[in-house]
């Protein structure tokens, strides 16, 4: 297993998998911007059905894609419909009554639009994450001269999370083995310091050594770093990215201008 457990990435060799991570990142950003740019619920729905779904099918990650949306988008959408359907400010057009609550049409259409916007935002990024290994994304960014410090921080954080989660479990067991009872809300509140204290203190005190190790391995030395691996890119992808970026900028400009006016 070469994947990092923490990242949702799936292995595969489809066209979408092989695209440069930068192309997929640009796509996720552009499709989100475009979705928010038009006030009509059919537009984000069209983007989702015409672009995101086919891409997920093509990459053979449809099941995971839908599963992730079910986990993360459905709850947000449900809350959205309840909150805005019943409590949308200054809405009058009542379409149904549930006891003292009144479901109003303005609220429902607003909820529908917003939920679809969020669907596109989440879908775009899920597609990127499902088809891209974090290592490839980081390598691609470092080829684009993104600061090595930034790359380091993100890469290390991604990798330390599972280690620290395991450690949290160990600490929990260690304190229970010293007779700590973790039952009920009060018990859990009391257990917080004995769990969190060792977790954070241990993690922080390691930092001094790690910084020393990095510096002796030349991190931050002024010479230009090289890279062991390269991320394939192509002229087609470069122009596609430029076009998408232009598209996003136009969408934003038109909107901001419209809003300000």
């Amino acid at each position: 297993m070469s994947t990092v457990q923490f990242s949702p990435h799936t292995t595969g060799n489809s066209l979408v998998h092989r695209l440069s991570p930068l192309t997929k990142l640009t796509f996720a950003v552009t499709v989100t911007v475009c979705a928010f740019a038009v006030v009509d619920y059919r537009w984000p729905l069209l983007l989702f059905c015409a672009l995101l779904l086919p891409a997920a099918i093509g990459a053979k990650v449809l099941r995971r894609f839908l599963l992730m949306l079910a986990t993360f988008w459905v709850p947000v959408a449900a809350v959205l419909f309840v909150v805005q359907g019943f409590f949308f400010p200054e809405a009058h057009d009542v379409i149904a009554r549930f006891g003292p609550l009144e479901l109003k049409s303005e609220g429902v259409s607003y909820a529908l639009l917003t939920a679809l916007h969020i669907l596109v935002l989440m879908g775009g990024f899920f597609l990127l994450l499902l088809t891209t290994h974090a290592a490839t994304l980081m390598s691609a960014l470092s080829e684009r001269n993104v600061s090595p410090s930034l790359i380091y921080i993100v890469s290390a954080a991604l990798q330390i999370v599972p280690t620290l989660s395991r450690r949290a479990t160990r600490i929990l067991h260690a304190q229970q083995a010293r007779g700590q009872v973790i039952h009920g809300l009060r018990g859990r509140a009391r257990a917080l310091v004995p769990l969190v204290g060792p977790l954070i203190l241990g993690a922080f005190t390691d930092v001094g050594e790690r910084a020393a190790a990095m510096e002796t391995r030349g991190f931050g030395a002024t010479r230009r770093p090289t890279s062991l691996i390269t991320v394939p890119d192509s002229a087609v992808q470069r122009s596609a990215r430029a076009a998408m970026m232009l598209c996003a900028v136009v969408a934003v400009t038109v909107n901001v201008w419209g809003v300000m006016r």
Binding site: Q175, A177, R178, G179, G197
Partner: protein, 277 residues
Amino acid sequence: MIVRIDSLTFRYPNGTTALDEVSFSVSAGERVAIVGPNGAGKSTLARHLVGIERPASGTIEIAGRRTDGLGIAELARTVGFVFQNPDDQLHAASVTKEVEFGPRNLRFPPARRKELVESALRRTGLAQSRDAHPHHLSLGERKRVALASVLAMDTPVVVLDEPTTGQDHASVVLLGKLVDDLGADGRTVLAITHDMDFCAEHFDRVIVLEDGGISWDGPVDAWLAQAADTAGQAFELPQMTRLGRRLGWEGSVSTVTGFLEHLAPGADPAPAVSTAP
């Protein structure tokens, strides 16, 4: 029998068998070392004793009670577990408070608690650093604080996971004496260790785990006598054992005292000159 394990089997979530039909019993006051190559199931076995892992099949009885229905915190009254990494448990603002955490959880009356804490601090040589913040101490000292915090719970069974790793000579000597004393007090000590010299000098009995099963259970010298030379790849055999073999001796010796006794019986009657036996 304070600990009785019968046909204990355990599988990891991914299906690999970590322990396969392991059975043994330990009586009160026994000092048992559990040894074996990395990944043989030593830690998994130890985690079963404190209730962190639950057996797939088989039973564990501690002080006459089946552990099935007991939580980790309930088992803590009978089994004290000293984890390998002390930083996994140190959280209090002073050494004294840290050591008091266990007895307080177990609801010992204040006078008894104080007595237990004092005795644990004395035995681990920490009386001087009682007010220090545990995280401001050295690794060796932190390991001793973790040890003291378990001793203070006054459990009949104490389980130690790699107690000598990261410890300097003085601490190892102190630890060895502590293991001897606990045994003399009638408390049972089980220790996972890879330090064969430490094992030979302070334990009456060794349980060797290999591939999830027990390949030896009995006196240390008898095991070393029959252990093949290839065992030296997985275990760094005691220095005296290797010397005895080099001299072509039959049987096996594992400690300096045993070696001298074999060399010239009766010539070394009072070996207590050095702290290393």
